[in-house]
């Protein structure tokens, strides 16, 4: 667990000599073949530095989930190179994807068990992880007894149990109410900083991207391609209502609308 980084350091990018955590070069993914082929990703380039928080925004059909699957190693690109440094990334889905037959604690424990952590060490580790996401009191609850936000926190604890250095999130807060989402933004930011993770966060929500990311990458749709990048330079604590967040979100949102308009058929 890395030492704490002060708030103002968040914009400082990693030193040039460190290898990026994720490097995609000219990654393409085509589903199907011949006339029916769908190009999900088209020669996409993306670099995510170690310890950074990068958000991807794009409309439907920008191949966000395909991209995350490729980075997570669940799918292979049709062409291009994928370099991951720092071990196998872990992935958090829009729905929590907890196993419904296990309690919150058992879900977290399974991640430890599949990693080969001996039984005696698991109990303490599970308790610590649940405490980290403020769910100590709900260890014995099953997923259906928890709210959507609590389920996502269990999923976060489960992902942290894998001790992956790279965390991929696929619209993790899309289905949550605004109050819960705002709190989980703070929670995720805190854990990212405390644990020194590298985060690649995918969302439809431009404000959410600006609220969280050090850098926002805009993807085009059909085919998915990185069309623009926006560094988020906002000093101090940010909230989703901050005027600086809104200002940048408007700029990015305009470009996103442009991407969407290209697909209008007349």
């Amino acid at each position: 667990m890395r030492a704490l980084v002060a708030d103002d350091d968040r914009q400082v990018s990693a030193s040039p000599e460190t290898a990026p955590a994720i490097r995609l070069e000219a990654v393409s993914k085509v589903f199907g073949r011949g006339a029916d082929a769908v190009v999900a990703l088209d020669r996409l380039d993306l670099t995510v530095e170690v310890g950074s928080f990068v958000c991807l925004v794009g409309a439907s059909g920008c191949g966000k989930s395909t991209l995350l699957n490729i980075v997570a190693g669940l799918d292979a690109p049709t062409s291009g190179t994928v370099q991951i440094d720092g071990g196998r990334p872990t992935l958090i889905f829009q729905e929590a994807a907890l196993f419904p037959w296990l309690t919150a604690a058992e879900n977290v424990e399974l991640a430890l068990r599949l990693r080969g952590v001996p039984r005696r060490q698991r109990g303490g580790a599970v308790a610590d992880l649940l405490e980290l996401v403020h769910l100590s009191g709900f260890a014995a609850k099953r997923p259906h007894e928890l709210s959507g936000g609590m389920r996502q926190r269990v999923a976060l604890a489960r992902a942290l149990a894998q001790e992956a250095r790279i965390l991929l999130l696929d619209e993790p807060f899309g289905a949550l109410d605004a109050i819960t989402r705002d709190l989980l933004h703070e929670e995720l930011e805190r854990i990212w900083r405390d644990a020194g993770l590298t985060i690649l966060f995918v969302t439809h929500n431009v404000r959410e991207a600006v609220r969280l990311g050090q850098r926002v990458v805009l993807l085009s749709s059909r085919p998915g391609r990185a069309v623009a990048e926006f560094p988020v330079v906002i000093a101090g604590e940010r909230r989703i209502e901050s005027p600086e967040v809104s200002a940048l979100a408007i700029t990015i949102g305009e470009q996103l609308s442009e991407q969407v308009r290209r697909h209008a058929t007349r």
Partner: protein
């Protein structure tokens, strides 16, 4: 994993923790279960009333004199006969033999059905080869197997068990197969992200996810096993051996309607008790644990 934080950070974390805790309390529904006795009574009384109505209708038909009393005895006579047989010990001996056969036959069917199910799930070729055959076997009336079973194994326990296993195993295999087929893809992806591969994937993800459908298959398998067993005991009479089916057959031969109906009640009761006490409650508790039904 406890973290040392700088002071302002600690304050933020505390506020965040408190805020989350407040939200959690608001969002988690507080369930109050009704007292156990109340729940049992609420579940039982409609059944009791239905049973009383059925017995009342039977009594009415008896009183109408539609059939002579020695062909269609009254409920009281039949239950009296049942009581007599229970005291004499004949009934317990017969039920003992039948239940032993049911347990052995159903146990074998679980093993055979389970192994076939796992093999079919794991191999695409095998599924193409025998997948539809398993469903076909399930629709085959098990009584049609008896002539062959008797030829192969004569009038023996083996002949009965053979047909019981053939009757129940396809349903059990099918339950397992459909359970595995319907595992939500999201859970499979989650398993892969967690690094569950090979046998660990089956043990921790696929089989637990397939459990509800598998139990439904077991339940159906039990119904088939019980029917096959009764058919077998009526057809395969082993000299000198009693059983529920054999008693039923003897009663018919002696035109002992009260004895016959007493035995039918026993067959019905065993079927219901196993279904309700074993399978339905198992199914319900599995579904309740996963939030698929209201637990109250």
């Amino acid at each position: 994993m406890r973290l040392v934080r700088a002071l302002p950070e600690a304050a933020t974390a505390d506020r965040l923790g408190t805020e989350l805790a407040g939200l959690d309390t608001l969002e988690v529904p507080r369930l109050r279960r009704r007292p156990r006795l109340r729940r049992v009574v609420a579940a039982a009384w409609p059944k009791v009333v239905a049973l009383l109505i059925a017995l009342g209708l039977w009594q009415l038909v008896f009183l109408s004199g539609w059939k002579p009393a020695w062909l269609l005895p009254s409920p009281l006579t039949v239950f009296g006969e049942l009581w007599q047989q229970l005291i004499a010990g004949d009934l317990l001996a017969a039920v003992g033999v039948t239940l032993r056969r049911a347990a052995v036959g159903f146990g074998l069917a679980i093993v055979v059905g389970g192994v076939i199910g796992i093999l079919v799930v794991r191999s695409k070729t095998l599924r193409a080869a025998v997948g539809s055959l398993i469903t076909g076997l399930q629709t085959m009336p098990s009584i049609a197997w008896f002539p062959l079973a008797i030829l192969l194994f004569q009038l023996s326990d083996t002949a009965i068990l053979f047909v019981v296993v053939l009757g129940a195993a396809p349903a059990i295999a099918n339950g397992l197969i459909s359970g595995v087929d319907h595992v939500p893809p999201l859970l499979l992806r989650a398993g892969r992200v967690l690094g569950a591969t090979g046998p660990a994937n089956y043990r921790h993800v696929i089989l637990p996810a397939a459990l509800p459908a598998s139990v439904a298959g077991l339940k159906q398998g039990w119904a088939f096993a019980w029917r096959s067993l009764m058919a077998g005991e009526l057809l395969v009479l082993i000299p000198g051996q009693t059983s529920v089916g054999a008693q039923l057959q003897f009663s018919r031969e002696f035109s002992d309607a009260a004895g016959l109906m007493a035995m039918m009640i026993v067959i019905l009761l065993i079927g219901i008790v196993v279904d309700v006490v074993v399978f339905s409650s198992l199914e319900r508790s599995i579904r309740a644990r996963r939030g698929l039904v209201d637990a109250t």
